[in-house]
Amino acid sequence: MKKLFLTAAAASLLAVTGASAQTKVGVLLPYSGTYAALGNEITLGFNMALEEAGRTGEFELVKEDTEAKPPVGLAKARKLVLEDEVDVIMGLVSSGVLGAVRDFVDGAEVPLIVANAGNDEATGEACSPYITRVSFSNGQVSRPMGEWLAEQGVKTAYTLAPDYAAGHQMVDAFSQKFTEGGGEVVGGEFTPFGQTSDFGPYLTNAKSSGAEALFVFYAGGEAISFVKQYGSFDLKEDLPLYGSGFVTSPLYVAAEGDAAVGVIASLHYVPTVDNELNTKFVETYKAAQDKAPSEFTIQGYDAAKALMAAIDSGASDRASIAEALRGLTFDSPRGPVEIDAATNNIVQDVYIYETVKEGDGLTQKVLGKIEAVRDEPNGCQLD
């Protein structure tokens, strides 16, 4: 009896100290609208990492829905900081929302762990000691594709992407490296973002351009529509499709079906990356979700990894968490990663992969790996 009592007391004592050390995390993601699925996937990955480490009790999560709309995202960011007084914010799917909250989190000195949004300037000219990105930058993902494609001896390419910040950055980065490698971008178009359902006219333009390859960036529902329509036009022979890897993301490649087969794209993570950590990660995920994880899962997962690492290094408040994240290195299922001390952007391997058939489903065959891709500071001065 006495012993039991003591144990209970110890447990409650533990709980108390646990509570006092609890880190309050604002989770700022789209849970409705175009990118709701991405928000859910990132949340899943984040929780998975906490559970794996058995540290769910250390973190209190406050979830807010950005609806993938910049003004809503900024309003919710303010709410998290001013009302909930979170220690750190994790999330952000769309570049637009990141652009909107950037000045606020920088001014309020709240660390923000970006788990998707890839706009280059957030870790470039508009970088902040409080903004750390564990996902990717648009340029980081697309440059390797330009390089790789030029190396394959492809001379001309046509580009298509949605007409918003990320679309432009993806295409610009690709074009720059492709041109440097000796290729030529013979034409391209930016389609109205979120309002284009019929890509037929654009595909027809691309075909008539006579280019050898088609490079595109699309995400979410647009990616599905685009790839399926590309498939229906039977262009695989004349105009093979290359992309920034989101276009055939494992998250929705099933909906794209056979049309996605043979598409080659570059991405910072695919479930078939061959390393021990990833094998375990994929197994755990598949056991729970009955499907393969995606780059979004890993981004959420690594956001939690990075946060835990920062706390383990002794960080406890906003300033120290931000400071501890900088320069952090750890092993992720996607390979070794590092938070670049110069920009706070992640440094990681980028994979060139092809979507191939495997049994009834589709899988990703890794064709090449560009190691430790690091963004130039691009005007970023953290100190």
């Binding site: 008539s208 229906s232 909906a255």
Partner: protein
């Protein structure tokens, strides 16, 4: 740019026009007869796509979806007719607009709850999945199927309206509802039948569009505006108007997208505004003036 390019872009425009036609014909005839503006028509199109995806999964065939989805949407339409539409016929345009605007919200969340947030694809049937050669270009067979289907529906509706007794009744009722009732036409039953056909066509458009555009929760709202533009440009209540309007809007949006993307988006609104101001009855009005 060679001739093949133009043929392709023309086919692209035609394919989009036919989808717009399937949607606008229901909307316009319902307006012509019932004087009812159904903003939820786009939502029915979305339901057609989602029901089609489920029906295809259930029956294992696209053709199962092709039959079942329009029927399912018709059932939804019938339910709406008895619960809301019939009651609101005399309630004025504002109340109609508001209630059907509310329905958009309801259907949006029903789709999210039922099918989730990720866009869903539907595979074209095996026989229609490749490309075909036509006029010297190779074009997706499925898109040709859409064009053909639109043409068939157009022809059937034309025949029904021009040659059959039901058609004559519909035309008489659009022309003058009171007189039609006085002539002994069972207006209530006629309205219901026409409303159901309109819903079925919206559902058909949805299931037919799914293999091309995939099904998303936003598809209903984004198709609604072009459809309304078609209906108003053509003339509310007019079959010929819906045909003309679909072709015009389809051409403007497709050819515009290919050449002047920034202008194309505004072009159809400009056209709509010009029509409303200069010729509010539409290009081919249902009633003689």
């Amino acid at each position: 740019m060679d001739a093949g390019f133009w043929v392709l872009q023309f086919l692209n425009a035609l394919q989009y026009s036919m989808l717009l036609f399937l949607l606008s014909i229901g909307l316009t005839v319902i307006f012509g007869l019932l004087h009812f503006v159904n903003l939820a028509h786009g939502a029915l199109y979305m339901m057609g796509a989602y029901l089609g995806i489920s029906a295809a999964a259930l029956t294992g065939s696209y053709w199962g979806a092709f039959i079942l989805a329009p029927l399912g949407v018709t059932a939804i339409g019938a339910l709406l007719y008895f619960t809301l539409i019939d009651r609101l016929r005399g309630a004025g345009p504002m109340n109609q607009v508001l209630v059907t605007f509310g329905l958009i919200f309801v259907f949006l969340d029903i789709a999210r709850l039922g099918w989730g947030d990720i866009a869903l694809g539907l595979d074209a049937p095996a026989g229609l999945s490749g490309t075909s050669n036509l006029l010297g270009v190779s074009y997706p067979t499925y898109r040709l199927f859409i064009i053909g289907l639109g043409a068939v529906v157009m022809a059937v509706l034309w025949l029904v309206l021009a040659r059959t007794q039901i058609g004559a009744m519909i035309r008489a009722s659009v022309e003058n509802g009171d007189m039609a009732a006085a002539m002994g036409i069972n207006v209530g039953r006629l309205f219901f039948a026409v409303f159901c056909v309109g819903c079925a066509l919206a559902g058909l458009a949805g299931v037919v569009a799914a293999p091309v555009f995939s099904a998303t929760t936003g598809m209903g709202i984004s198709i609604l505006i072009p459809t309304l533009i078609v209906v108003v440009i053509g003339g509310l209540g007019s079959l010929q108007g819906a045909i003309a309007g679909s072709l015009i809007v389809g051409l403007i949006e497709t050819v515009g997208a290919a050449f002047l993307p920034s202008f194309a988006a505004v072009a159809s609104y400009l056209l709509l505004a010009a029509i409303l101001v200069l010729r509010p009855q539409g290009l081919i009005p249902a009633r003689g003036t």
